[in-house]
């Protein structure tokens, strides 16, 4: 139908726009702050301190094989990456309405840039994590490289959820209000602040259907317990992620045709 146009408005042609949007997001996030990019490191540092104070000193959580702080902090920073990506992606189409209504470009670039622009924050958090790991004498092995593929899965997952909600948000702004609730519920249903073993046996399967469970457990194994991810759980996560990506992309592309008209 749009036989020629379709080729021209391709993602590849706009790769530089993606690059500059990411740069714009990252830069404007820290530009006005007194400490600038230092906040990217300060924030996770203070978060780690809070975890340590509350759960180490006040509540005295019983310690398992892995001390509570590295266990929770690892889950926490990778969850944060996901959750912040999803929330900014959800608002990215409506938040760039001036671009959407006036320039022709593939709108999934907005979602992609929302996710990619969270990477510097994640890297800063990882620096803090490394300090914690060293502090708790946890060894690092070659399994650490599993972080890369699992992180890619996590980003695909964030893209899928982001495409899904951002496109609906153009039509119904209710999504803007709902998304923090969804993310909070999802946080508690995912072993972020607790280890997966704590989930009762009869709920284990349901917990593993949650793709974020596989992602976080895989990342924890790679970083903390020096092991490869559990195959079954990783396969479930991969399958669910794949389905979500396909469904969300089809929905996004369908709804995208109306973005400029209804936004």
């Amino acid at each position: 139908m749009f036989w020629q146009l379709q080729n021209k408005i391709s993602l590849w042609r706009f790769r530089y726009l993606l690059l500059l949007l990411v740069w714009r997001d990252v830069k404007s996030r820290y530009k006005q702050a007194l400490f600038g990019f230092a906040w990217a490191v300060l924030t996770p540092t203070f978060q780690a301190l809070v975890f340590w104070l509350v759960f180490g000193m006040v509540f005295k959580v019983p310690q398992g094989k892995i001390p509570y702080l590295p266990l929770v902090f690892t889950g926490f920073i990778f969850w944060n990456f996901f959750s912040q990506s999803v929330s900014s992606a959800t608002l990215s189409v409506t938040g760039n309405s001036n671009l959407v209504t006036k320039v022709a470009f593939p709108k999934e670039i907005l979602i992609l840039s929302s996710v990619l622009s969270r990477i510097p924050d994640l890297v800063a958090s990882l620096l803090v994590l490394i300090i914690i790991i060293v502090f708790f004498h946890i060894g690092i092995s070659v399994y650490i490289f599993w972080v890369v593929p699992i992180l890619i899965i996590e980003m695909l997952l964030a893209l899928a959820i982001g495409m899904f909600f951002s496109s609906i948000n153009v039509y119904f702004r209710d999504v803007t209000a709902i998304i923090p609730i969804i993310l909070m519920a999802w946080l508690f249903l995912t072993p972020v602040l607790y280890p997966l073993d704590l989930v009762p046996a009869k709920y284990q399967l349901i917990a593993k259907l949650n793709p974020m469970t596989g992602v976080l457990e895989g990342l924890r194994r790679a970083v903390l317990t020096s092991g490869p991810p559990e195959v079954a759980s990783m396969l479930i996560t991969l399958a669910v992620t794949f389905v979500l990506i396909v469904v969300s992309y089809v929905l996004f592309k369908k709804l995208e045709k109306g973005f400029a008209d209804v936004i």
């Binding site: 139908m1 749009f2 036989w3 020629q4 146009l5 021209k8 408005i9 042609r13 706009f14 530089y16 726009l17 690059l19 500059l20 714009r24 830069k27 404007s28 530009k31 006005q32 001036n98 671009l99 209504t101 006036k102 320039v103 022709a104 470009f105 039509y171 119904f172 702004r173 209710d174 045709k257 109306g258 400029a260 008209d261 209804v262």
Partner: protein, 245 residues
């Protein structure tokens, strides 16, 4: 139309665009529409447009407000989609619809040149290559490294236009944008556009300014109520519009 297919840069076939009025923005408003199959009111911004534009042609589009001129350009540029019908454009399309969209206020002029260039679909290398020309054309000079939020609106538009005008294009779509900026700068832009026009480049210009239409177009399309009312040589169509429009 009996143009030879190979020469048509733009072919538009029974193109229509219908806008819905009162699209619900809240789930609560959408529910009755969904449940009781209420039909949303709408209006046809464009109705059954058929048009061929051949390479090197300069088409002026005139018509009253709301006649569908801007909608047509928005569809051709790919910002919005037709409700029915189809169209084809060959070659690189550049659209000067609303200049300066996507400038980031906190960023400097320099940074925004790159940002805006990529928004318009340029690659970084070509922005870099034309950077000096762009800046010289804009006359921004020493404010290049000042955040654009401190720019006057004139400076802002001049910089944006300078980026846009240095794009590579085979088909250029212009929608009234030349009405911005001061007279000198407008003139400069027109000269620049004129210079880049050759027998291979195609121009589509929407304007209320008949002098400009006469100057730039060799064919004029008069849109009325979303339909093609008249198309032909500039003067007869403009005169018809002035008499009957």
């Amino acid at each position: 139309m009996s143009f030879k297919v190979a020469e048509d840069v733009i072919a538009i076939d029974k193109l229509s665009k219908r806008y819905k009025i009162g699209q619900p923005k809240k789930l609560g408003d959408a529910l009755p529409i969904f449940l009781f199959k209420q039909k949303l009111k709408g209006f046809w911004a464009l109705r059954d447009i058929n048009l061929s534009v051949s390479q090197g042609e300069r088409l002026g589009i005139i018509g009253a407000n709301g006649s569908g001129k801007s909608t047509l350009l928005k569809i051709l540029s790919g910002v919005t989609y037709p409700t029915s019908g189809k169209f084809r454009i060959d070659g690189k399309v550049a659209a000067l619809l609303e200049v300066g969209t996507g400038f980031h206020p906190d960023f400097t002029g320099r940074e925004n040149v790159y940002l805006y260039g990529t928004i318009l679909g340029m690659d970084l290398a070509s922005v870099r290559q034309r950077f000096d020309q762009i800046v010289a054309f804009s006359g921004i000079g020493k404010f290049l490294d000042t955040p654009v939020k401190y720019y006057s609106s004139g400076m802002y538009v001049r910089l944006a236009f300078s980026v846009a005008i240095h794009l590579d294009w085979d088909v250029l779509l212009i929608d009234e944008v030349l009405a911005v900026g001061d007279a000198d700068f407008q003139k400069k832009c027109l000269v620049k556009i004129e210079q880049s026009l050759d027998h291979k480049k195609t121009l589509i210009l929407v304007s209320h300014n008949f002098d400009m239409i006469r100057k730039f177009s060799n064919r004029v399309l008069y849109l009325r109520g979303g339909k093609v009312c008249k198309i032909g040589k500039p003067n007869p169509v403009i005169n018809y519009y002035l008499k009957h429009g």
